[in-house]
């Protein structure tokens, strides 16, 4: 199964990870990998979620789009050279 990356810009507050992960849990979506980092000085964070490219993907995107903590959303299907990290490897934190 091919994996794609959902790239989100979200409000940065203590409950935001809870909200996004809760959405995934409640709707039975599965995350393959997750990376979150604050965008310093902006009150925003960048969240990258790797998910399987299956029939649920459009619904995941639409549910995220209407989330009021999600400010921007884009999908990277792999052409941009971003790969899902191997399990157990450290994920670089490029956003600062």
């Amino acid at each position: 199964m091919k994996t794609v990356m959902i790239d989100l810009i979200i409000n940065n507050h203590p409950g935001v990870l809870y909200r996004i992960s809760g959405l995934f849990a409640r709707r039975s979506f599965n995350m393959e990998a997750l990376q979150v980092s604050g965008l310093s000085g902006t009150g925003r964070s960048r969240m990258r979620i790797w998910v399987a490219e299956d029939a649920k993907l459009p619904q995941i995107l639409r549910q995220l789009e209407k989330n009021w903590d999600v400010l921007d959303i884009s999908l990277d299907t792999g052409s941009g050279g971003i790969e899902m990290p191997e399990p157990g490897t450290a994920v670089p934190v490029p956003f600062h």
Binding site: G15, G22, R26, P58, R62, E65, W68
Partner: protein
């Protein structure tokens, strides 16, 4: 000028145009109540936070405007979870404001501390945990903006006590939170929809609660009439297109829809879905729903389009705007062949006409309908009485029925009816409930009497959780477990104990004298009607089955 957080909240609610707040005070929201004491906003003291939440829902459902309820932290907040979840599933705009343990104590398992923000996540459209007094200035208007924009829904604002008491300088007040304009329907998509309607030989329009919320009932009726399209509605859409029972208005579809209505849907070659979410109670087994039909689906929530059923033409936008654009584009058509085919199906599969049988609950519902005046609201609880009301009450306008559709919450009826009567003091409000449901929030009878509202309660009593009993009869070989009440309280005495005039209908007695006296006496009143405990809601599609597999509901 300096304001406390609590004063800020109350001032912002006043600026939002809020006139009534329901709620219950407690330790963590006392500063809010202290500030409320100096406001013109009227507070309705409920007897349980769930009651307060459903009263706010009644206000919001009857007026279409967002309503507000207050509760304290801990148990106050947990008691709001049910009305918030209910509002979320039925897309009702409301704002719940809860007090929270002071920030300095949060996370220490303090007295009446619960993770309200965490509780709020799956049951609200959005929620805020306010961490500073300054934030309130943006959060309160924003909460209303979110509640009413796009697909409406409940918003939860949790405010720690020390944020309520902290002070901030306010130089300029923000404007009230208002509805953001929806997306403009895409022209190319509209053209595709028009072409699909043009090509269809057997179209059916499928309208739901989104049409009621959008105030687009008249536009649905106009489009259907112009292009000769028969209309079915969901439970939440009842009243769109006026009373049902003609080849043009087929009534409710689904689990308890008429046999002919489900059979007609099976034949259709185009389904025009608007403000609906293809709920399983409406569609039955989704793979077998309208198997021959192409689908046009219009909705203000883009995530609903294609969620459960593939649509061949998805229109993202406000149903009212979409329909307004579509009406001039479609042809004027009779569709005489399709109407004749529908009439034939209706003739071959007539309903049982239970509303004509004085031994049946549907007859009582129809009799109640005779006393309803234009502009009345019918508020139900959840169970058999709810479905009989949906089937037999002659609804004349969208939004006339106020009912818990998505969550199906027993205990909804009485407090939601109180909220309706508070928001619409000049309207006739009728609460149709059952003996199981009414006991789940019966304490609000005290609120009803205290407020002196003109609310009429019809209580159908079968001494059972009727829909459970019915499912155990039909699908569990009559093995009745935990569905029958061996002891029925004296409901008339209970109502009278709260101060509500009440009477019980005798066995075999015509309901008309009791109903006439109920409706001719101002103020609250209750008529308690024992009914045949064996009466079932018919027809019934077994849960999980296709809508063609209906049990009962035939004309014998």
């Amino acid at each position: 000028m300096k304001f406390s957080g609590a004063q800020l909240v109350i001032r912002l609610l006043e600026r939002q145009g809020i006139e009534i707040i329901t709620g219950i005070p407690g330790g963590a929201n006392l500063p809010l109540y202290h500030a409320l004491g100096n406001s013109n906003i009227r507070h309705i003291l409920a007897r349980h936070e769930q009651g307060a939440g459903f009263m706010a829902q009644g206000m919001a459902r009857s007026t279409g405007r967002p309503a507000v309820c207050f509760a304290t932290s801990g148990p106050g907040a947990t008691n709001l979870v049910t009305p918030m979840a209910d509002a979320f599933l039925d897309s009702i705009p409301m704002v719940a404001v809860t007090g929270q343990t002071p920030l300095t104590l949060m996370g220490t398992d303090a007295f009446q501390e619960v993770d309200t923000y965490g509780l709020s996540l799956p049951v609200s459209k959005h929620s805020f945990l306010v961490r500073s007094v300054e934030e309130l200035i943006t959060v309160i208007p924003r909460a209303f903006e979110i509640a009413v924009s796009g697909r409406p829904g409940p918003v939860w604002v949790d405010i720690p006590k020390d944020v309520q008491t902290a002070e901030a300088d306010v130089d300029a007040w923000p404007g009230p939170g208002e509805k953001q304009p929806g997306p403009d329907p895409d022209k190319g998509t509209l053209d595709r929809a028009v072409a699909m309607i043009q090509e269809a030989r057997k179209p059916v329009f499928y309208a739901g609660g989104g049409i009621v919320r959008a105030g687009a009932g008249n536009r649905v009726a106009q489009l259907c009439e112009k292009n000769g399209i028969p209309l079915v509605t969901t439970l939440m859409g009842l009243g769109i297109g006026g009373p049902s029972g003609t080849p043009a208005a087929l009534g409710m579809l689904g689990m308890h829809g008429e046999r002919s209505t489900n059979l007609i849907l099976d034949q259709c070659d185009l389904l025009i879905a608007a403000g609906v979410r293809f709920d399983d109670r409406a569609t039955g087994k989704i793979e077998a729903f309208c198997p021959r039909a192409r689908v046009i689906h219009m909705d203000i929530d883009n995530a609903e389009i294609g969620k459960l059923k593939t649509s061949h033409c998805g229109i993202y936008g406000d149903a009212g705007q979409v329909l307004e654009a579509l009406i001039p584009l479609v042809e004027t058509r009779e569709r005489a062949d399709w109407k004749a085919g529908i009439a034939e199906i209706q003739r071959k599969h007539p309903g049982p006409g239970f509303f004509r049988d004085s031994q049946r609950p549907e007859y009582l519902i129809r009799r109640v309908g005779r006393y309803a005046v234009p502009g009345s609201f019918i508020v139900t609880d959840v169970g058999q009485h709810q479905m009989w009301t949906a089937q037999a009450f002659p609804f004349s306008r969208p939004g006339q029925l106020i009912t818990s559709g998505g969550l199906g919450t027993m205990g909804f009826g009485l407090p939601a009816a109180i909220g309706t009567a508070l928001a619409c003091p000049d309207a006739q409000v009728i609460c149709i409930t059952g003996d199981g449901s009414v006991l789940m929030n019966i304490q609000e009878m005290a609120t009803l009497v205290e407020q002196g509202l003109n609310l009429k309660i019809i209580l159908l009593n079968n001494q059972a959780l009727g829909l459970v009993r019915q499912q155990q009869e039909l699908f569990f070989q009559g093995n009745y477990v935990a569905c029958q009440y061996s002891q029925s309280p004296d409901f008339t005495a209970i109502a009278k104990g709260f101060g509500i005039p009440a009477q019980t209908l005798g066995s075999g007695e015509s309901p008309d004298t009791a109903l006439a006296s109920l409706f001719n006496t101002p103020g609250p009143g209750l008529v308690h009607i024992p009914i045949d405990p064996r009466a079932n809601v018919e027809p019934m599609v077994p849960p999980g089955a296709a809508n063609l597999e209906m049990i009962g509901g035939e004309n014998q």
